[in-house]
Amino acid sequence: MSHSTVPRSRAEAETTEKTPVASGGATGSRQKRRPEKLSLWLRFRRDRVLLLMTLPAVVLILLFNYVPILGNVVAFQDYDPYISGNGVVSMLHSPWVGVENFQRIFADSAFWSAVQNTLVLFFLQLLLFFPIPILLALLINSVVRPRVRAFAQAVLYLPHFFSWVLVIAVFQQLLGGAGLLSQVLRQHGYDGLDIMTDPDTFKFLVTAQSVWKDAGWGIIVFLAALASVSPDLYEAAAMDGAGRWRRMWHVTLPALRPMIALLLVLRVGDALTVGFEQILLQRDAVGPGASEVLDTFVWWNGVRNQDFGYAAAAGLVKGVVSIGLVLAANKVAHLMGEQGVYKK
C-alpha cells in the first residue's frame, strides 16, 4: 500500500485525504473501474460486527506469532537463559555480541553442509515426490466402481496417520541391516543390504519414506479439483474424436493447473523445511554429514547444546531465505498466468 502517488487534481487530493489507507498506488484508470470508495470510518461501522468476530483470532496471532518474533533479538546476543529466573529478563542481561553469531554461521562448515543437504533434499522431493500425488489422483479418478475407489483411497490415506517413529521403525524392520530383507538375502547366499545406514543413499531413503507416508494424503486436493471438471468437457472432447490421452492432456491437466501452481508455490516457500522429526530420528544412523538439515542444525545447537543465540541466528537466516523463495515462486506463478498465493 504505497502512498507515493502525487494527487493530480484537487478532487483527487481530497479523496486521498479522506481515505488515507485506500489503495493509494491505484492510478486514475484503475480507480475508475472500482466501485465507490467508502471512508475508513464508514467501512469500520459497516463491518464492526465482522471485525469483532475476528478479534480473538487476531489476538491469538499477535500473541503467538508476532510477539515471539521479538525473541529473535537473542540472535544478536550470547544468550544465556540461566542468568536470571525469567527468560525475558535474561534477554535483557545477556551480553550483546552484534553480528558475531552470523559471522560464526557463515564461517561454519556444518551450517553450509546443512544448507546443502536441505536444498538437495528439497529438489529431490520436488522431482520425485511432488508428481506422485497427481499421478495417483488421476489413477483413482479413473476408477469407476465406488467400492474399489473407496478402498484404494483408504489404503493410500492410512500411512499419513502413522507417526514418524512408527514409519521409521517399520522401515528399519524391513530394510535395516538386521531387517527382513537383509536376512532373506543372507540366507540365500547374498550380502545383506544396509539401506537404513548408508549415508550415500540417505536422501533417497528419506524421500521414499515421505512418499510412502504422505503421497496418498496429498491426492485429496487434486481429487477435489478433478471433481469440479464438468463431464460436458469430456463428452465434447470425445465427440471431437479425442482419445483417452488427449482428454487427459487437454481437459484434465489444464483443470489441475491452478492447483498445481498453488501447491508448488507453497512447497517452495517451505523448501527449507524438509522434515524435522523424520530426520532427527535417523540422524545418528547415517551421521550428521549426510542428514543434518537446517531444522536439525538449529535444534542441535540451540536445544541440545544450549547455544541459543547461535541457533536463533541460524533460524533467522532460514526465515529470511524462505521469504525470498516465496516471493520468487509467487512471481513465477504470476508469470505463468496463475493466481499464486496472493496478488498485489
Partner: protein, 561 residues
C-alpha cells in the same frame, strides 16, 4: 532390582550413549577468582578445593550399621554376598524427619514410569513423612529437556542431573538456579542426617558447584565402570576363549560372526577400546586432561585415542558388529537381541551384568552373562583411568523455602540408608509382600515390584557405592572382584575428584566430538578427518582451555595421589 543405586540409574544404554560430553561444574573459591576470574571474565568457572572446600564439606561419620562381606578396595564398591534376614534389619532413621510438606522432583527415568500414586511411592512417603511428587522424564533424552526446563521460570523443587548431561550451559544453570545446602550440611550440621554424614567425603567434594555445596551426590566406585559383557553359556558351548588382546578379539569375533545364522560377535566396542588402549576417561571433560612431563594433554590429542578409534573401525569393516550398532543412539535396547544370541559381546555399565541376569532368569534358564577382564591392546595389562567418585546429583531449587529444603534432606537421609537397613530395603525393593517376597533369605521382586520400584527414590542420594544381590550372590561377588582387579590397573588423572566448571566461551568446544567419533568408527569419515577436527579444536580454543586448566592445577594441585 539393583540394590545398588549407584548402578540403578545410569545403568541403561544412555550411560554409554551420553558419554563424553559431560562438562563439569564449578566455581570459584575466592583465591581462584583472583587467579582465573579476571582473565576469563566470570566468577562461575573454576573449582573449589583445599581449605575453601574443607569449610563447605560435611563432617564424615562412618556408619556402623552393617559390615560388608567384601570391603572396598582399589576404588571398588562394597559387596554383600550373604543371605537377607528380614528379622535382623536395622533401623537407620529413628525418627521421621519430614514435616509433611510437598516436594516435586524431576528425575531421569529409564523404562516405563509407574502410576503416580503407586504403593511404592506411598510407602516411601509414609516412611519419610514428606509428600514427594515425581516428574519422571525419559533418561535417554534427558539432556534435550533439561536445558529447556532450567531456562523456564517453573523449575521443580528438586532436579536430578547426571554428570553426563552437564554439557553446554547447564553448569551455569546449576549455579544460578539451585540452592546452597551448606547451611544445612557443612561441617557438623550434617549430623542431623546420619545417613548423609556417612556418604564419603570424595563424593561430597564433587557436589560443590560454584563455590557452594549444592548437590546431593550418588557415590560411585572410581574403578572402571564399563565392562565388556559376554554370553558365557554360548562361549562354553562353542568353546570360545575370552580374548587377551585386540588381535585375539578380532580373530575371535571373525570366528563367531555368521550373518547367515543371524549372529554377529559384538556391538560397537569403542568404550572397551578406549580402556584397552589406555585412553583418558571420556565420561567428563576435566577427567580427560592429564599432566604429562609438565604439559597438560587432552584425551583426543593422544595417539592412543586415534588407535582406539581405528581398531573400533576395523571391527565394523570386518563385519563382525551387529548391524543395529550402525544406528548409533537410535539403536534399539540391546537386551532382547543379546538374549537371542544375535551378538555375544557388548560393553556396558557394570550394573547390566546383574540386570541382564535377572531379566532372563525366568524364561531363559541357560542364559548366563559374565564380564570379561579388560585386556591390554597388545596383550599385557591395560592402563585404565579412574572415574569420578560421584556422577549423579540432586539439586534443590533456589526458590525453595527452608521447610522444603529440610523435607528434601529428610528424603535424602532415607534414600542414603546403607544396605542391611529397613530404609534400604524400602528404597530399593519397596513394600514387603507387595513388591517383593523373601524366600530362604532371597528377596524376589513381584511383578508389581518390577513395575513400581524403578529409579525414582534411588536417584536422590545414595549410600557409599554398594553391590548386593542376595538373589545372585555370585554375580555380586564377581562384580566387586572385577572392579577390584580393574581398579588395581587404574590411575587417576590430574583433575580426578574435582568439580570443575569451564568458562562459558569454551563450553561449546567439543560438542561434536562424539559425532565425529561415531562417524569415524562407522566408516563415514576418515581418521584424517578426525585429525583435522582435533587440530581445529586446538586452534578454536583447545589451547586456551589447556592454559586455563593449567592455572587451576597450579592453584589447587591435584586431588589425585
Amino acid at each position: 532390582m539393583t540394590p545398588n543405586s549407584a548402578s540403578a540409574g545410569p545403568s541403561r544404554r544412555s550411560f554409554l550413549a551420553s558419554t563424553a560430553v559431560a562438562a563439569a561444574a564449578v566455581a570459584g573459591g575466592m583465591p581462584l577468582l583472583a587467579a582465573c576470574g579476571d582473565s576469563d571474565g566470570g566468577s562461575r568457572d573454576g573449582t573449589t578445593s583445599g581449605k575453601d572446600a574443607k569449610k563447605l564439606l560435611p563432617a564424615y561419620v562412618a556408619s556402623n550399621v552393617v559390615t560388608p562381606d567384601i570391603a572396598a578396595k582399589n576404588g571398588s564398591a562394597i559387596g554383600f554376598t550373604g543371605k537377607l534376614d528380614l528379622a535382623t534389619l536395622k533401623t537407620s532413621v529413628t525418627k521421621k524427619l519430614g514435616k509433611g510438606g510437598k516436594v516435586t522432583i524431576m528425575s531421569p527415568f529409564w523404562g516405563s514410569p509407574p502410576k503416580s500414586n503407586n504403593a511404592y511411592y506411598k510407602g516411601m512417603n509414609d516412611l519419610i513423612g514428606v509428600d514427594v511428587v515425581w516428574q519422571n522424564q525419559d533418561g535417554n533424552t534427558y539432556d534435550q529437556k533439561l536445558g529447556a526446563i532450567l531456562a523456564s521460570s517453573d523449575i521443580p523443587d528438586v532436579v536430578v542431573v547426571p554428570g553426563w548431561n552437564m554439557g553446554g550451559k547447564i553448569p551455569t544453570a546449576i549455579i544460578s538456579k539451585f540452592a546452597d545446602l551448606g547451611p544445612y550440611l557443612s561441617g557438623d550440621a550434617v549430623k542431623d542426617f546420619p545417613n548423609l554424614a556417612a556418604i564419603p567425603t570424595d563424593s561430597w567434594r564433587r557436589s560443590i558447584f560454584g563455590g557452594q555445596l549444592r548437590g546431593l551426590p550418588m557415590p560411585a566406585p572410581w574403578a572402571p565402570s564399563i565392562t565388556p559383557l559376554y554370553r558365557q553359556d554360548i562361549f562354553e558351548k562353542e568353546g570360545y576363549e575370552v580374548p587377551k588382546s585386540c588381535d585375539e578379539f578380532l580373530a575371535l569375533a571373525k570366528e563367531i560372526t555368521n550373518p547367515k545364522a543371524k549372529r554377529w560377535a559384538c556391538l560397537d566396542m569403542k568404550w572397551t577400546a578406549f580402556q584397552a588402549f589406555g585412553v583418558l576417561s571420556g565420561s567428563e571433560k576435566p577427567l580427560g586432561w592429564n599432566l604429562v612431563d609438565g604439559k597438560l594433554i587432552y584425551r583426543i590429542e593422544t595417539d592412543e585415542y586415534l588407535e582406539a578409534l581405528e581398531w573400533s573401525r576395523k571391527l565394523f569393516e570386518a563385519g563382525v558388529v551387529h548391524p543395529d550398532s550402525k544406528l548409533g543412539k537410535n539403536a534399539p535396547d540391546p537386551g532382547p537381541k543379546f538374549a537371542k544370541g544375535e551378538f555375544l559381546i557388548y560393553p556396558s555399565n557394570i550394573s547390566q551384568w546383574y540386570s541382564r541376569t535377572t531379566e532372563q532368569a525366568a524364561q531363559n534358564p541357560d542364559f548366563k552373562v559374565w564380564g570379561m577382564d579388560v585386556w591390554g591392546h597388545d596383550g599385557g595389562n591395560p592402563t585404565m583411568w579412574a572415574e569420578q567418585p560421584a556422577g549423579i546429583f540432586a539439586f534443590v531449587n533456589k526458590k525453595a523455602s527452608e521447610s522444603v529444603i529440610r523435607d528434601v534432606l529428610a528424603v535424602a537421609n532415607v534414600t542414603a540408608a546403607p544396605y542391611g537397613t529397613k530404609e534400604y530395603m524400602m528404597t530399593n525393593y519397596g513394600v514387603e509382600g507387595t513388591h517383593y517376597t523373601v524366600k530362604d533369605g532371597v528377596p524376589t521382586k513381584t511383578d508389581q515390584g518390577n513395575i513400581d520400584v524403578l529409579n525414582a527414590f534411588v536417584m536422590v542420594a545414595s549410600p557409599a557405592a554398594t553391590i548386593a544381590h542376595p538373589d545372585y550372590p555370585e554375580v555380586a561377588k564377581a562384580q566387586v572382584e572385577w572392579e577390584q582387579r580393574m581398579g588395581a590397573l587404574t590411575k587417576k588423572s590430574s583433575f580426578w575428584g574435582m568439580q570443575i566448571t569451564e568458562p562459558n566461551r569454551y563450553t561449546n568446544l567439543g560438542n561434536d566430538m562424539e559425532q565425529m567419533e561415531d562417524d569415524v568408527v562407522r566408516g563415514r569419515k576418515k581418521v584424517s578427518d578426525m585429525q583435522q577436527w582435533i587440530s581445529d579444536w586446538k586452534s578454536k580454543g583447545g589451547d586456551g582451555l589447556r592454559d586455563w586448566y593449567k592455572k587451576i592445577l597450579d592453584e589447587n594441585g591435584s586431588a589425585a595421589n
